[in-house]
Every structure is written in structure tokens, then in C-alpha cells.
Symmetry: C2
Subunit: 127 residues, 2 copies
DNA sequence: GACATAATTCGATGATTCTGGAATTATCGA
DNA sequence: TCGATAATTCCAGAATCATCGAATTATGTC
């Protein structure tokens, strides 16, 4: 029942896909955009970088499986892939927190599991 | 009551301090070493890199506050700083998980908060 | 088919990073 | 003080990365 854990190699790749100003900006915007994601052009405009520069970074993130791309006519829409992010965080908690994940989970920060597990508002958003 | 959240700039710095093969190797070894940490020389030997190369990477990680250094005679001992790692993970959960941290916490992975929320068992272990 | 738009790939350039040799600093022991 | 050890800083070279202009591919519209 392990949540498939990343290898260090893959973890490095995923970390590198976020460890740069433009790239973290891209990802945060995609996260903020939610399930709809954003067209590549919108991200580029929002960040003020050239379209080809953005493609360069998106390619990295797609390679790392942190984002997905779907063509919609002339537009290519990007979305954050939360499952990969979960794997990355899982790796950090497992491998970088001394075997005690709880010491790296800011106390009471996230309502890890809200009192009522029944209906979480977040559903298919991050498939 | 926010757990001091990292700025994107600082988060990039912390991510970059891990997003490289040698550096992630360093950090994982420090984590595995536990509270005792490791002398710089031991890390270098364990990773098979030159001492000066290791210093270069350790400096990055120290700058990012992910490791701490204490001199012990001729040896300088390094330790992983879990509080910084917690901040990093906190940032990722808050800013990169669509406002719903739980979707990035591999289900039932860590016993996030044991049944009793009052007393956190993990304490001074990690400075 | 011809044209316009969205995005990527190609090519080049400047900047940054990673690495290790050599020199330097700090500590310990005799 | 001298020598040995641990680690860092200094320096240079090679490699990688980030950026953007130009060309290319893919799609939609007329």
C-alpha cells in the first residue's frame, strides 16, 4: 500500500522543475487557475516571458510530470498535476524528514483530514 | 497563527538547494544520520566527491537554511534542519496544492496528527 | 488553397552552475 | 613553534541552463 514513492533521480527532476523563478511562477499560476488550467499563451503573458521561453519551461515540467497538456484547437491548455506533486511531497516526507513525517508537517497547518471526510469539495479537479 | 510561510523567492532557493543529484544525496545522508549529523569529510567520502566540491554544495544548503554547521575541533559537523524543510513543505502544500493540502498528502501516508491533537510527540529531535 | 493565430522547435548567446586543483584558514598534538 | 589534518576559499575550465529571434508545425477561418 505504499504510495508509489519517487526515486531520488525522479525527485531531483521534479524539484528542478520547480526550483527556478519562472518555473515556480508557472506552476503557482497553474495551481491558482484550478482544474481549468491555462493556455500557454496566457501563462506567458502573465509572466511576461516570450512564448518560446515558456515552452522551454513547460517542457521541463511536463517531462517531470508536474503538468499535463491538452490541445484545444489552436490552444494548448496546461494543468498542474497534483498527483505528481503528492508523490514529490511524499518523497520529501519519507526521505527527508528523518522517518517522522509529522515533524515536517507544520503543526496544525493543513486540516489534513477535515472532521467530515464524507464530502470533500475537491473532487475530480486533479485527476 | 500562520506557520511562517516562505516567500516564493526563498522557496526557490530551498528547492534549488535540493534539486541536484549531489545536493539531494547530501541532504538524504544528513537526514539518515539523524540528530548527530555528519562531519563534512564523511559526507564527501560517502558521496565520492572532492572536499571542495562538497563545501560548495553545503554552502548552498546552509544559505538556504536547510542544514546547519557546528565546529567540533577540526571537524565541522553538519545537520539537516527539519524546521526549514517543514517550511518548504508547508509552502508546497499551501501554494502548490490548490488550497487543499490534503490532495497532496498521499492518503493515510503519515499519521499526520495522532488522535490527540494536544501533544505532539515529535519534539526537540530536530532543533 | 491562402491567411492568421497558437505554440513549438531550432539556433545562438550570455549567464550560471558544477567540478576539482591549488592555496588558505583553523584546530589539534607533540 | 612545527607538522598534520579538516575544511574552506580562490581560481579556472567545462558543462548546463535560460532567454530570445527566427523558422516551423498545427489548427482554425475564409
Amino acid at each position: 500500500m505504499e504510495s508509489t514513492n519517487l526515486t531520488p533521480d525522479i525527485a531531483v527532476q521534479a524539484l528542478a522543475a520547480l526550483a527556478q523563478e519562472t518555473r515556480l511562477g508557472v506552476f503557482r499560476r497553474l495551481v491558482a487557475a484550478g482544474p481549468e488550467g491555462l493556455p500557454a499563451g496566457d501563462i506567458a503573458a502573465s509572466l511576461g516571458v516570450a512564448a518560446n521561453t515558456l515552452s522551454f519551461h513547460l517542457a521541463h515540467q511536463a517531462q517531470a510530470a508536474l503538468v499535463t497538456a491538452t490541445r484545444e484547437g489552436r490552444v494548448i491548455r496546461y494543468r498542474a498535476d497534483f498527483s505528481r506533486m503528492a508523490e514529490l511531497i511524499g518523497f520529501l516526507l519519507a526521505d527527508c524528514c528523518g522517518g517522522r513525517p509529522e515533524i515536517c508537517l507544520p503543526l496544525g497547518l493543513p486540516p489534513t483530514v477535515p472532521e467530515t471526510t464524507d464530502e470533500a469539495p475537491a473532487r475530480s479537479c486533479c485527476g
